[in-house]
Every structure is written in C-alpha cells, then in structure tokens.
Symmetry: C2
Subunit: 272 residues, 2 copies
C-alpha cells in the first residue's frame, strides 16, 4: 500500500458529493484516485439498476460504506419503502442503511408524537434489517431541518433510540455538519461508542442559501473542528469509514474528478 493509499484507507466518497457524476464514472474515478469506499444513494442506484450497481462496484473492488437513505417515517408508505431500502442495502453489500426520520406531517405541530413514531418504526424494522444483515443507522440532522426533514435533532436523541437495540442492529450516524454546534457533542460521541455506525464530514459556511439544504462546504472550507470530531469518534472506538458528503450547488457544478480531488485534499488536511 502506498502512503497515499494508506492515508485514504478510511476515506469514502458519498455519492451525493458528486451529484451529477454518473455512477460508472464515479466508481472509475474512485478507483483511479485510490479511494477504497463509496457511499451510495438509492435514487441513482435505482436508476442504474440495483444488481447492476452492485456488480459494478464489486468488480471495481470498492467497498460500499453506506446506503442513503431510509427513514421518512411520516410518509404513508414508510414501511414498504424502508423494507425495500433494506433489501437494496443487502443487495449492494452496504453494511449500513442511513435513516433520516422525516419532519412533522403536513399541518402538524406534534413534534413529540413524530418522535415517538420514529422510535416505533425503527423497532418494527429492526428484525427485518437484522435478518438481512443490514445495520440501521439513525442520523440526527441539524435542528434547522427539524420541521421538514428530521425530527431527530441531536446525537443524544438518536442514541436514546439506538440504545434500545444491539449496536450491531441499530446504530447512529455522526455527521459533523449536523452536530458540531452542540455543546454536548463530545460527551454524546463518547456515550455513542460502538453504536457509531457511520462518520460523515463536510464543513459549515455562512450565509446559508435559501432552503438551507445545499449550504455544505468541502472539508476545510468552513468552521467545523473536523479533526477534533474525528479523534473523538476514534476515541469512542469507531474504526470505520469516513464519508465526505457535501450538498452544494457550486460543488455539484464542477467535474466529478475535481470535486473528488478537492474532497481528498480537504480530508487529508483537516480530518485524517
């Protein structure tokens, strides 16, 4: 293993970072760059074909680190959709299915009710996921998404759910973008321990764009203490992949190879 490859041992490209890079190109790009892992998304995988995507990635020697994403438990078809997502993760060899809980149902103000529903839904899915060999990972999203995307707003809340299960069956996602502001985050990461199923990085910049979804920056371009967070998840016992996941219209407008190179550069400088 060369020094570069060794340094990238835990690096994984989350597919959302290179939103417009066709899957075969992204896979070839990762191989060319010495990247060992890729985090996949259900929509582009479905478009390419699940079995075909599984073969493509496997033949390239890449590890699938996560599948994004299940969840959205307030949708009417949440059960069907999540069982399907678990099947897809299994078919892809993705060890982890990321769950984003969904926000409040339209017109509802009952955030406690929505939160209870998330916990109930995960309890219902857990046996199926266990049988499929797929670990469910509850992802808290930044509180600016509480109303419309994810009522699970802190790592503490995600752990309150995940700890009801064996950590091999239900874990949590630590995404630096969503948790960096929390004054209890280091205590919660220590608490999380073997429940940490995924660690994702990108960076926080302001001003946030309209809709706030696409405001993320490449690692190193913002104000998050990424290395400190990485060291904290390591100290908690996490030895798994580190996904770079950036949602940003300007980043998406650039060629995939350039974005991957910038992600690797930021990762080596600020995270590894």
């Amino acid at each position: 293993m060369t020094g570069h490859r060794a340094a990238l041992r835990r690096f994984s490209l989350n597919q959302a970072t290179t939103q417009h890079w066709p899957l075969p190109d992204a896979v070839a790009g990762c191989v060319a760059a010495g990247v060992p892992g890729i985090g996949l998304w259900r929509e582009p995988v479905a478009e390419y074909g699940v079995e075909r995507a599984a073969k493509l990635v496997r033949d390239a020697g890449l590890t699938v680190t996560t599948l994004c994403r299940g969840g959205f438990f307030t949708a009417d078809d949440w059960r069907t959709e999540n069982l399907r997502a678990i099947d897809e993760a299994a078919a892809l060899g993705a060890p982890v299915l990321v769950l984003v809980s969904g926000g409040l149902p339209a017109g509802s103000k009952d955030i406690d009710g929505a939160r209870h529903r998330v916990a109930d839904a995960i309890a219902e899915l857990a046996p199926y996921a266990e049988a499929a060999g797929v670990r469910l990972a509850v992802e808290p999203l930044h509180p600016m998404f509480s109303a419309d995307r994810c009522v699970i707003a802190t790592l503490g809340q995600a752990l309150d759910i995940a700890e009801r299960f064996d950590p091999g069956i239900v874990g949590v996602v630590v995404d630096a973008y969503h948790v960096w502001w929390d004054d209890t985050v280091y205590a919660q990461i220590a608490r999380a321990g073997e429940w940490i199923a995924s660690f994702q990085v990108c960076d926080w910049t302001t001003p946030l764009p309209a809709g706030v979804l696409l405001g993320r920056a490449l690692p190193g371009d913002g104000c998050i203490e990424l290395r400190r967070l990485r060291e904290a998840v390591d100290a908690a016992g996490y030895t798994g992949p580190i996904e770079v996941e950036v949602f940003n219209a300007d980043v998406w407008a650039r060629p995939g190879e350039q974005v991957l190179a910038a992600a690797i550069d930021g990762y080596l400088r600020e995270v590894a």
Copy 2:
C-alpha cells in the same frame, strides 16, 4: 380593564416586528390597540434619541419590556458597546437587556473558546448592570446561527452561564423560535425558573430564506407549539411580558398597524 385589554395584559410588541414603523407611530399604534408593552431596539432608539424615546414611551403610558440588544462579545469594542447598552436600558426604563453572544471570530473554529469568552464577558458586565438596575438576559439562538451570530445555541447552555449569578442580575431569554426543536426544552424551562427574564414568540415556517435571518412567521403561521411553551414558562414561575418578535421581509413590507393587528390576533389564538 376591558376584556380585550385584560387579554393583552402580557402582550408586548417587539419593535423589530414592525421594522419600518417609525417609533412615534409604533408607540401610538400600541396605545390605540390597547397594547401595554413594547420591546425596543438600540439602533432605532439611538436614531430617535435615547432620552427622547424614553419620554415618548413614558408619556404614552407604555412599559418598555426589553432592550435588544447587547452581546456580540467577539467584537473588539464589546465592553464599551455593552456598557453603553446598559446605560441606554436604564435610561429607557427597560428592566432587561437582551444579550446575543456573537458567533465565531472571523477565521476561528474555536467554539469552546468563544463560549468561555461569553461567560467571562457577562461576569465582567454583571456588576455594572446590577448597579444600573438592568437585568442581563442571555439569549440562546437557534443552532443555525452558531457560526455567525450566537455560539450559545440551547437554553441549557444559557442557563449554565446565568445560574452563576443571582437571577435578578443575569437571566435568560426563552424565544420560542430558537428553542422549540430541542427535545430537552421543557426540562430546561422548568430548570430555568426565576432565571427566565423574557419570553418571546413567533413561528417557524419552511423553506427558510437565504441567510435564514428573516424566516420567522407571525404566531400561528408555523409549526411551533406556542401555547405549550407559554404554559411551560408560566409553570416555571414566569409572569412577565410576552413579546411578539418577527423578522420577516414580507411582514416588514406591510403597514405597522396591520402587522400589529395580526400579531395580536395570533397571540390571542395561539399563545395567550
């Protein structure tokens, strides 16, 4: 006292809600609407003249509920500015000076350091505020403002600072918009007790606009359980004013009288 006036007993118009309403018009509008209190902002007050504003409000029989705002402790001139803000609050008869801590210094990632600096600065200001008869109120802002406006992101954090002081000298602001998403908010409100120096309401809607500052809605137009929060601050022992504080470009574009009427309507329906 008529029924309407009785129902508005705790209502206060935060001046920011009617951003473009000249102070004399806002004061006259409050009097005409039977509103007993007004929350003032330093900038428009300075423009009108502090002593002149104090006389205007006093002569109208209005109570000044808060002065917004001090804080921004990472600015070079924070000490001078905050001592001046305390003097202004005293001159206006404002019992409470709202403190928004400020975000990270430019280029800094040291959020712990910034948070320590806030606590130190408040300790430095407290004796001066006490002597002036002005209560300092630490306001946690929503975590989407942690980087650029306020490193104090939760009520728990604000209380960690305020509890070092007599509650008559340093308290906290409970602003529904900033705290509603927090699964610990009701526990923290109960903990806050007599440290609650101000209660502010508006509502949460999505999508958030670019920059996210002006995304607030009038009470009732969003998804926050405003009455539940009001009942919680009441149960914690708070009997003071309830300020409607809305930052929203569309709201600001409407005539002040209309906005005040809508704020009163939302307050009576959703808060009182």
